[in-house]
Amino acid sequence: MKRIVEFTVNGEPSEMTVDACCSLLDALRDDVGLTGTKKGCDVGDCGACTVIVDGQPVNACLMLAVEAEGRTVETIEGLQPGVDVLHPLQDAFMRHGASQCGFCTPGILMMAKKLLDDNPNPTDEDIRFGLSGNICRCTGYTKIFDAIKSAAREMEAARS
């Protein structure tokens, strides 16, 4: 039996029609059409599917779509503040070459956004702890760290 789930995604009220056993990840990609969120492992190991639900990052593969009823979901498609404006993290990732194949990037950006929202000046250790649920097989992480620290500095400068 299909169920209709009403929720808010990236600030817009939305609806999806799903099977009870459908993950939020599959529903976002196949039913809502938001394919920015990636499926790497489907069992919580890789973090490619990270979305923010009611303010907390979770693995969309480990949540059922029916559980999203009435909740607020933020995905990578909602990260940029305007049509032609990038989030400082997206900009820094491009400048630093922090994205190669790009498969991990949406999940890492969502995690990095949450990290900087909570902690505008993270140390390397804070970044390491914050990203321990996100696997990248291309970059070796160094450029990701550089990009996050650079974005943190730019966001700090923009605030003052």
Binding site: M1, D19, A20, C21, C22, S23, D42, V43, G44, D45, G47, T50, Q56, P57, V58, N59, C61, L62, M63, L64, V66, E67, M111, R128, F129, G130, S132, G133, N134
Partner: protein, 287 residues
């Protein structure tokens, strides 16, 4: 994904009734971080899941000096991990919480789910047992509170009967004379299941150890206590020689197996190393 149906329970009584009425292959669905993985990897046959997250009254966290810390079945690992009280009073539990999976997993995984899955390597169980925690069980016929050390009957098995639901866990208060530690040993620092986990909770009165509990994870069919090692330590000053002898005793008391993560011999050796280290770390509280 294998198909299953989803039910939302309104009350404990409702969830319990669904568990009995829907028949075999029906499971409570909490954070789902074990259940959904087991369904995807075809480790568990599931026809129905019963979501308990809408049941009122299971999300509370309370602390008082006589009863200690009580948290409901829906409290996530992440929520407890972020609590200053847990960091200050229960550093052993806090260490286990912060080492479980990733931030994303911890925002969904519940402590009660970690306990109910009854894995011998579950990180939250050793510190909770070392602290003498109790588990609250809702039952249509036999409501009860059970010491956590008596909750497990084997890997993946507990004393819960059909239709019974864990409503929460109480951890006794942590006095000023207590020291605690949890050491998780794995092949890497994050996103890793324990190869061995050792939790220690001890009390010192006038420089003498008045009580100590040692809980060993991933070295037996359930998380184990080390009663003989504990007996050797009680009433002593926890001097280096006594700690060494007790750690050797703990190695004899555990019953590890070999698997992909480590051999039985290696696990036993690590019990010796980590037991001594955990006692020393717990003692640092008084330094």
């Amino acid at each position: 994904m294998r198909r299953f149906d989803y039910h939302r329970a309104e009350t404990l009584e409702h969830a319990s009734r669904l568990l009995t009425e829907l028949g075999d292959d029906t499971f409570l669905f909490n954070g789902g971080t074990d259940l959904l993985v087991e369904i995807r990897e075809r480790l568990r046959r599931v026809r129905n899941v019963i979501d308990i997250k809408g049941i009122p009254g299971l999300s509370d966290i309370t602390y008082d000096e006589t009863r200690g810390l009580t948290f409901g079945a829906l409290v996530t690992v992440g929520r407890l991990e972020r609590l200053a009280l847990v960091r200050q009073r229960y550093p052993n539990l806090r260490e286990a919480l912060a080492s479980l999976g990733s931030i994303q997993v911890r925002n969904r995984a519940t402590v009660v789910g970690n306990v109910c899955r009854a894995s011998p390597s579950a990180d939250t169980i050793p510190p909770l047992i070392a602290d003498g925690a109790f588990i609250h069980i809702y039952s249509p016929t036999n409501m009860r509170v059970v010491p956590l050390s008596e909750f497990f009957t084997g890997p993946g098995r507990t004393v819960l009967a059909k239709g019974e639901i864990v409503t929460g866990i109480t951890v006794p208060p942590a006095g000023d004379n207590t020291g605690k530690a949890y050491l998780k040993h794995g092949r890497r620092k994050a996103m890793e299941l324990s190869t061995v986990g050792v939790a220690v909770s001890l009390s010192m009165d006038d420089g003498v150890c008045s009580d100590i509990r040692i809980a060993l994870g991933a070295v037996g069919a359930t998380v184990l206590r080390a009663p003989q090692a504990e007996a050797m330590l009680r009433g002593t000053t926890l001097d280096a020689a006594t700690v060494k002898n007790a750690a050797d005793k703990a190695m004899e008391e555990c019953t590890p197996i070999s698997n992909v993560r480590a051999s039985a011999d290696y696990r036993r050796d690590m019990v010796g190393v980590l037991t001594g280290r955990a006692i020393r770390q717990a003692l640092e509280t008084f330094a």
